[in-house]
Amino acid sequence: MANATSVTTATSGAHAPEQEGRIRRSMRNDKLATGILAAIVAIVMLIVVAMVAYILFQGIGMLFQPGFLTEASRSNGTEGGIAYQLFDSFYLLILTLIISLPISLFGAVFLVEYAPDGPVTKIASTAIETLSSLPSIVVGMFGFLMFSVNFGWGYSLISGAIALTMFNIPILTRVITQALEDVPSSQRDACLAMGLTRWETTLHVLIPAAMPAIVTGVVLSAGRVFGEAAALLFTSGMSSPARLNFFSLNFASPTCAWNIFRPGESLAVHIYKIYGEGSPEAQHIVWGTAAVLMICVLLFNVLSRIAGKALARRMTAE
C-alpha cells in the first residue's frame, strides 16, 4: 500500500528527494527479499544435510560390520544381516520395472502420438493423474485383496511388484510423455516427410531422441519404488524366507531366490518391522538398514543424472 502511494506521487509530482527515498526503499526491499530467500534455501539444505549426516552417523558403522550386507537375518531380524532384504528390494524393483516400463512407454506414446484430442485422451490423462495421488496404503490393501487373496498368490513378490507398478505407471508415464513432447516437432516432420509411418517415426527417431530424459526419469522413479513400504506390507509380506537358494532354477520352490511367488521383504519394510518390534538390541540394525536404503536412493539420483548426461552427450556429439 505504501508503495502504491509513493508511485502515484512520483509520477504526478516527481520531486527529487521523494524519488530518492523510493529508490532507497526498493533497494532495501530487494536486499531483504534476497536475504530471506537465501535463508529459506539454507534451512532446507541444512535439514537435508543434517538428516543424511545423522542417519549415516548412526548407521554407517553397521555397513562395515562383517556379514551385515552378506548374511541373512536371524532371530526375526534382530540379529544377522540384511542380505535377503537387499536382494528382495532390487528384485522387486526389477520386477516392477519389467511390468511398468512397457506399459508406461506405450501409454505415453499413445497419448502423445496417436490419441486424438478429445474426451478419451482427457479421461486417460485424468485416470493416470489420479492413480499417482492414491495413498500407498490403499493401493497396498487393494493389492492384498486382489492379488494375494482373490488370485490366491498370497504374500508374494509378484503381488508386491504389481502394487508398486500402480505407483510407478503414473510417474513413468508423465516423465515419458514429457520427454516425447520435448522432442522438437521438426524431427517428427522430417520422418513423415520421407514417407515413414508414425510408428517407424516413434520407434526409430522419437524414442531414441527422448532416451536421455526417459532414462533419467526411470532411474529417479526407481528411487521412489525402492523406498516404498506401505504398499508392500500386505502384498509381498513382512519376511523373507529363512534360506534362499540363489543357484536354484526350480522356480516353484519356496526357497528359490528367483521364485516370484515367494514372500519377500524390502529394506523399508524391514525397517518398519524391526523398529515396530521395539527390541532395543536391534536398533543398530534399523539404523544400518536405513543407511543402506538411503545410500541406494542417493546413488539412484546421482546415477540418473550421469546416465542421462552421458546419453545426451553421445547423441548430440557435443
Partner: protein, 278 residues
Amino acid sequence: MSNDTDQFLASVETSERTPRVTGRAISNEVMLETHDVNVYYGDNHALNDTSLKFHTGEITALIGPSGCGKSTFLRSLNLMNREIRGCRVTGEIIYRDHNINTSTENLYELRKSIGMVFQQPNPFHKSIRENITFAPKRHGLKDKDALDELVEESLRGAALWDEVKDKLDESAFALSGGQQQRLCIARTLAMRPDVILFDEPCSALDPISTLAIEDLMLSIVENRAIVIVTHNMEQASRVSNRTAFFYMGDMVEYGETDQIFQRPNDKRLNDYLTGMFS
C-alpha cells in the same frame, strides 16, 4: 564454419557446371499441378481455390507476407497437412496423371517421390551416414554396398561429400547449421524424389550458407521440379523460374519470375515488392 564454406565455394568456382537459366520459364513439361485447392484449419479457411502448375526442371518460388497461406499450400503438396489435427484439404493435386488428394493415396510411397526440406535444419540424432540411410533402409534397401553408394551419391549431390567423407560415422549434430541443412537435402535426395519442396530453407542460415543452398538447388533441379517458399525477395529472383504471390489466403498472381518482379499486374503485389507491407 567459415572454413568449410570457403572450401565449398572453392569447389563451386572450380566446377564447370553450366549456369542454369532463372527468371523465365524454361520448360512446359508439368510435373505436379493443383486444381482449386482449399485448406481449412478447423473453421479457419486458410487457403482459397489455388491452382498452380510446377514444371520439370524449374524452380517455382512462393512469396507473400506472413500468414498468406504459402507454407500451408506447400505442405498440402506432399499431404503433410494431414498430420495436423483438424486440418482439411480439398481440391485436386495431380501427380503422375492422377489425383493424390484422396483418402486411398499411399502417403508413404508418395512422400518418397515428393520430398521436403524444412526451415530449421532437422537432422536426426544419428550419424551422418545413418541420416542418409535411415529412410531408404526402412523402405527396404538392405544391401550394404548399395547403401554406401547411395550415401556418397547423395552427399555429392548436396555438395557435402568433401567436407564430411572422413567423418561419416560422427553425429550429424557436430556439423554447422549450413552443413546440417545440406545434409537434410542430401537425405531427401537419397529418396530420388521427382519434386522437392523447400519451406524457407535458408531463414535460419547465414548469408554464405544461404548462397550455398541456392547454388545447390540450381544444381539438383534437372529432371525434377522444385518449389520454394521464401521471405527473401532477392532469393526468389535469383533462383526461381516462376513465382506465385499469395496474399491473405489467395493466390493473387502467378507468372515468370522476371515479369512478377519487374512488371507486377496486381496492386497488392506491387505494394509488397515496394515494401509497403511485409
